[in-house]
Symmetry: C2
Subunit: 572 residues, 2 copies
């Protein structure tokens, strides 16, 4: 029933986001928040204003990068003026905005302002968890950046900042700054399904509850995991244009209508997975940087659109281009306050190969793309990490070089467990493209109780591998990995007939699996473990610590859940 509800919401969602209307039923829904603390999961049901307290609890509890960030502008402005007043009387030097603006590089020093105070953060740049993106704020005010990356709304961030205070901003410049302060860039984000477990509100990042995830082979769009890097842009389908650059024919510009009518429509079923899926398991080993995803930053949908290959051919791609070009870059229409858009790239051969199946998708599960999934057009790069599947696609550039974006160059890469933030060289690792073999148990949940009288336990989950490699087997253990049984796989909805295997290298969609096994007679607890095998016979690593990496990506060790067996009361 819940899934039917999801399905209806999907359709409502599409309408709503385009028309800026909110179904009251959705708006009033309670939101479930999800916390992971010392291996136990607790659900907190929070209503309206109490969300904020629930989230504060989450942040304090796990140190995870989670935030909701309700902005109360009036209160903030009052605070700022108070700060300013205090500073004025503290005898610290007063700087003009012009003086601050002259410090915008490591050579000249990096100065920023925040709530009327001036900070020289030159020495902090190298330590910034978000990398050199901090330089975008150099010479200006931090506030609009912190509004985008709400992770900064934590007390200890302000404490760190205070160590770098060098003065205050002149009263005149502060007044100017406050009058141009932008409104919340996330205010036009679409409404979301209340069942989603939110990892970050701004930008919006959320995953479905695991037990819902594998109830359907095709994930309803409303509960498909959401992974946004920036505010959701408002795109008018009538004026939308897609630009294709870097080819001999000059720039090809396509309207949405042209994209839909000039090129054949292709449909594929493909699973997308965030590089950070299952990051929370790495956090349990040692703190990493990134959203604290559970096991559900992965979902499966059907996608329809024009083939990227066809569009590139229409734009002038040919054998001569292949001699110098190596990459196809994508730019989204989502941007930060400086106008920097989300971007990434994929290898040229994936883009142009007939068997690559890369789509410029305008439909998801048979309907227009929802706003959170890239309306009106996104790239769908099957078999490839979510981060390259650029949403709200604005520009395609055929190039000799990879995308120069932060997300291609200094993020979404894997490192050795021995590499830390002092020693990491982002140039030394390739940008993640194809993902490795993955599987997880969605039911039973960790800590669940199974009755002895049931005599059996049923274990369910998903399995998927990148690069179009088909999952060929899932092994399940009830004893922590000592003995193994083979699960049943399926690649259709439960009631549908099995489908034949896709051609080699084009298995883009996950398999759901299930095993029903007798309860071991003596056991009081089961440690259920799963591991999958793809048709290149890649296996998952046994344990998390040896694959731990400072960004917490590529977390694909065997998944383990512990369940207790309850002995039934005697029948006397």
């Amino acid at each position: 029933m819940l899934l039917r509800c999801c399905h209806n919401l999907t359709r409502l969602g599409c309408l709503n986001t385009q028309r800026h209307q909110v179904a009251p039923a959705v708006a009033l829904c309670a939101v479930r928040l999800w916390s992971s603390s010392e291996g136990q999961r607790s659900y907190q049901r929070a209503h309206g204003p109490s969300w904020r307290h629930a989230l504060a609890g989450l942040l304090a509890g796990t140190g995870a990068v989670l935030a909701y960030g309700l902005h109360h502008h009036k209160a903030e402005q009052a605070d700022a003026i108070k700060v300013q007043t205090i500073e004025k009387t503290s005898g610290l030097p007063v700087f003009t905005q012009e003086e601050v603006t002259s410090h915008r590089s490591l050579e000249d020093g990096v100065w920023v302002t925040y709530r009327g105070a001036v900070y020289d953060i030159t020495d902090f740049v190298a330590m910034h968890p978000g990398g050199d993106k901090i330089l975008l704020a150099a010479g200006g005010d931090l506030e609009p950046f912190w509004a985008l990356y709400a992770v900064h709304n934590q007390e200890h961030v302000l404490e760190i900042l205070s160590e770098y205070k060098v003065g205050v901003l002149s009263a005149e410049d502060l007044k100017k700054q406050q009058t141009v302060k932008s409104s919340d860039p996330y205010s036009s984000d679409p409404k979301r399904h209340p069942v989603l477990r939110i990892n970050s509100q701004k930008p919006f990042n959320a995953e479905p509850p695991p037990e819902l995830l594998t109830d359907s082979y095709i994930t309803p769009s409303a509960i498909f995991f959401k992974r946004n890097h920036l505010p959701v842009p408002q795109v008018d389908p009538a004026s939308y244009r897609l630009h294709v650059e870097g080819l001999p024919g000059g720039v090809l510009t396509l309207s949405l209508e042209e994209l839909k009518t000039r090129f054949p429509k292709h449909t594929i079923t493909a699973t997308l997975q965030c590089a950070g899926n299952r990051r929370s398991e790495m956090n349990q080993v040692k703190q990493v940087k990134g959203l604290n995803w559970g096991i559900a930053a992965i979902s499966n949908a059907t996608w329809s659109g024009a083939r990227l290959r066809d569009v590139l051919l229409a734009a002038g791609y040919g054998p001569d281009v292949a001699k110098w070009a190596c990459h196809v870059q994508f730019e989204g229409l989502d941007k930060d306050v400086t106008g920097t858009t989300y971007g990434s790239s994929i290898p040229l051969n994936k883009a142009v190969n007939e068997e690559g199946d890369v789509l410029l998708a305008y439909e998801m599960n048979g309907e227009d793309l929802p706003a959170d999934h890239g309306y009106p057009v996104r790239v769908l790069v099957p078999g490839t990490v979510g981060a390259r599947n650029v949403k709200w696609l604005g520009k395609i550039i055929v190039s000799a070089e990879e995308s120069n974006s932060h997300w291609q160059q200094n993020d979404y890469k894997g490192f050795s467990p021995g590499t830390d933030w002092d020693t990491v060289d982002f140039k030394s690792a390739p940008a993640i493209q194809e993902l490795p073999i993955q599987s997880a148990i969605t039911t039973p949940a960790d800590g669940a109780v199974v009755n002895r009288s049931g005599e059996e336990v049923t274990v369910k989950g998903y399995a998927w591998s990148g690069g179009g490699r088909e999952v060929v087997r899932v092994d399940v253990s009830l004893d922590g990995g000592k003995t193994w049984q083979v699960a049943q796989l399926r690649s259709t909805e439960k009631e549908q007939a099995p489908k034949p295997s896709p051609p080699p290298g084009r298995a883009w969609a996950w398999k759901l699996w299930e095993l029903t096994a007798p309860l071991p007679p003596e056991a009081q607890e089961l440690e259920i473990v799963c591991k999958a095998v793809d048709n290149s016979y890649n296996m998952q690593p046994d344990t998390v610590p040896p694959i731990w990496n400072l960004r917490g990506v590529l977390s694909n060790a065997w998944h383990r859940v512990k369940v207790n067996i309850r002995e039934d009361e005697s029948e006397e």
Copy 2:
């Protein structure tokens, strides 16, 4: 110096195998045999007739599938007559060859003869470790089969056989049988390099010593691992013909000269690995069936030849064929006594894709293919398990079906550790094509001693992944996997400049790696471990038991060696 020697031998080998001459120096060389017993490796240097005893020791020690099988025909014939005499006097029924021949199916019973006795092995067929290949001998004599598969030359095999004895062969038929007994089909096998460690003499299977393997980036042909399934066929290059079947143009027949002149010559550097590489580590967990390979059933060479794609296009391949064809089958010219040739197949898209780089190779390391590597023509399927790289290629068949050969259907497949010979269903697993990520430590050897005064330890090895996935990192641990350091990779000979990465999906060659690290101050022993990562970020599994499988293939857990640190004597 040894490698220079190898190189010279390579060239000598080419000449010799074509001309049926033997360099006396090679013929007189001692052969090193290799045994693995309870984790310790011992080398036995055996000369001339004493080989046999050394090998008997090996077989008794490990139960491994190893054999040399010197045939002393006269002694055997005398034995057979003695057996026959005993049987005649024992009162067992006497059968004619015609009666035996009438029992050649499970329905009619399966009878065989061996040294004059008649056996009804109907009940044994299902238990035969070699599968239903035993039926090839139904109604006939076992001896020629056992000469091919010398694993049978063990006492306990005779004991098993004796349980099925039902009578003796008539004296007249026994005499006939002995007069047509074929000579040793392996008698024309080429001479091999004495440094090779022999896992099986007939068919010949051998690997180089690990410490030699990674001394050169390109493995000299003479020490490149040898994996034959049958006797090496004698092929006359002048009368050699390659047949290409299954395409609209009818059969295309090419002479060696035509293959070399009608099609452009392509050269690639590619690593081949046997599916059973590192099987000995699985044997240490629980006995598996197969040759007891160490870590060196993998080697790297340059290969030149015509592209399979070009030959298929010339033979009529086109888009219409792609509508019904899915596989390209290969048949070797090596055959067993029944005329069954070695065979396998690969997916069509690997064969016809421009980026698949499949060659019909006629050169290895710049010279004609050596006899052991498929003279005059073999298939070279880069990124794919050795078993599909058919040697002494006789026929290519484009087909809707996979090869029906034993090696495609009932061998070279992976299974769950919980699957045993009673439960295995070979149809349930895909034929191995691309291999998973692999790495191993070639130096120091397990059990080596490192001097404390050296202050450092240098670890070397190889790393490779199937499917053209480039190795991007090798992690090395000196403490059993608790902490990790990143090794230096190289993809050229030591003295050569580094090369840029190949295009994505076309990294066919291994990387050699090296790490020099300080000796941990307190340690008395090091447990050195390596694990590699490919550019799909596939990792090796941590341990062997969870990937154990009844055929002992795909053994790619972390490789571990233990070395002792010797505290130096005081300088007093």
